[in-house]
Assembly symmetry: C2
Homo-oligomer: 305 residues x 2
């Protein structure tokens, strides 16, 4: 099970009553964050997220409302006893930004690795997070910006028939469910010899800030949850969306439809929208399973079978 | 009159229910700020401070809880139509910090001047803020840290007798109350020829973060308001105060006494103190006119006669 907390749902500037858009992900006790604006660490404290076991932070782009909070958060993580490595992924420019941030941060008791603009699908070398395939997509914003897709792989089930027909000694059955190969009596056995067909994992995609692009539907295709920016609720604000390189609720819903996702969660609302739910119909008319984001919203994603 | 808003009263890390310590000063419609941690711009919005007419930001030291908010604030000021110059004053290292901050900030539509570790009393070349003499003092914290004293000078009153005895033509009386010299019929007249004795201005001093030092009482002497850190309320936390280079309420009150100030305002409370007012007696026992800071607290300082 994957536990998600939408730490904030605001765009542009932090507001007294709305944290900036950021997603907190808890997977088997290890934590990840997507975007980190000013105040994200305050939201994390408010929603009892914990700072010590964050292993991965994904940054969509280098606008202040998506990255400034890193400075304080890195320090707070250090003060919370974190000593494990941290990986930060971001678009072109993230290395320079991290170098600037290091000038502003005192000593950190953990190592920070930066991955800049990864073009290929990758996963971390990490006991638990290795289960997650991470992909990125170039978006169309006023600065270099990337979206993320996280695919949480699911282990295949043990298949007793297969193990027996492959003549795997019973003593190895458990081991081969935990590791890829075992050498026993000079013979190599593979996990595929005892495991059944691959099972469908969970796909989570996160797209902000951008205009809709032709590539997005394929990138998000079949997501269990598609988290998408909805800067403007009112259809009439389309010209602002075009000018500022953002989306309306309707445009986000249209992507959700085209991408055949299970659920759409809207976030990154303009400070000018007092009550985003007032505009929900502009999304639900097109895509019924739309959730209008709010600060602290919790969601859990489970495997389907 | 000088209007003050204590934007926050917290130390170390921003909390869901307490903004970081920062002071907002409104003097004749021009604005100043002392310290700017993560979330200070949110507090400014909450307390309706306005971003456009900030001319001066004083930074005590480069710990995150005193400077990180600058990045977002500078951007928000730019987005609020500010085009006038901004001056930022800070301790040794502020220039490097500002250079790092500039990497993280996109274009700003105003010029930023940095004054690093000024040793002499100075005032800005500014129509209104020229009235303020600014002094600094070296403090004793775990990093380079300076305190500030702001002396708001008060113009002398027009003295009709003096003007007449100095044989200043009546046509110049008003002009000489507005400018220092006037040349009329080839003769130079000085404002001192029409103005009475200098009048007492208003002194505001701001001391955080530090241990008490022998120099502080003289530096803050006679302040109308002495704003001071009170990291720990409980007298028994003195060992923490010594270790972390902070003060207890009692120590701050003792400085207020020694400095013969009118009022003490405590701020920069440890996140471990849930209700700072519970410890008020530890200060008021020594110094009666102590105010325990709280977010959004407003105060006005007026000339005494």
């Amino acid at each position: 099970m994957i536990d998600l907390t939408l730490l904030g749902c605001g765009g542009n500037v932090p507001m007294p009553n709305r944290f900036l858009s950021s997603l907190f992900i808890n997977y088997k006790g290890r934590k990840m964050l997507i975007d980190c604006g000013e105040g994200t660490q305050v939201a994390m404290k408010k929603y009892n997220c914990g700072f010590k076991t964050i292993d991965l932070i994904l940054i969509t782009h280098l606008h202040g409302d998506h990255i400034i909070g890193l400075i304080g958060l890195l320090q707070t993580m250090g003060n919370s006893g974190k000593t494990d490595d941290l990986t930060i992924v971001g678009p072109v420019g993230i290395t320079d930004a991290m170098n600037a941030i290091k000038v502003l941060v005192e000593y950190l008791p953990y190592r920070v690795y930066v991955i800049e603009n990864p073009k290929e699908k990758f996963s971390l070398e990490h006991d638990i997070l290795k289960d997650i395939d991470i992909s990125t997509i170039d978006l169309e914003h006023s600065t270099e910006c990337i979206g993320y897709s996280l695919y949480f792989k699911r282990k295949a089930k043990f298949d007793r028939q297969k193990a027996m027909s492959n003549e795997v000694p019973q003593i190895l059955w458990k081991k081969l469910q935990e590791q890829d190969t075992v050498i026993y009596n000079d013979k190599t056995y593979y996990s595929s010899m005892v495991l059944g067909d691959e099972r469908k994992g969970i796909k989570l995609s996160f797209i902000t800030d951008t205009r809709p692009t032709f590539e997005i539907p394929q990138f998000i295709y079949g997501s269990d949850l598609f988290i998408c920016e909805g800067m403007y609720g009112d259809d009439l604000d389309i010209s602002k969306a075009v000018k500022n390189k953002h989306m309306t609720f309707r445009e986000a819903a249209s992507l959700a439809n085209a991408g055949n996702v299970d659920k759409l969660l809207l976030t990154h609302f303009s400070p000018s929208i007092e009550e985003p739910k007032d505009f929900a119909h502009n999304a639900t008319n097109l895509f019924k399973d739309t959730i209008i984001g709010e600060d602290g919203l919790s969601l859990s994603l489970s495997y389907k079978d």
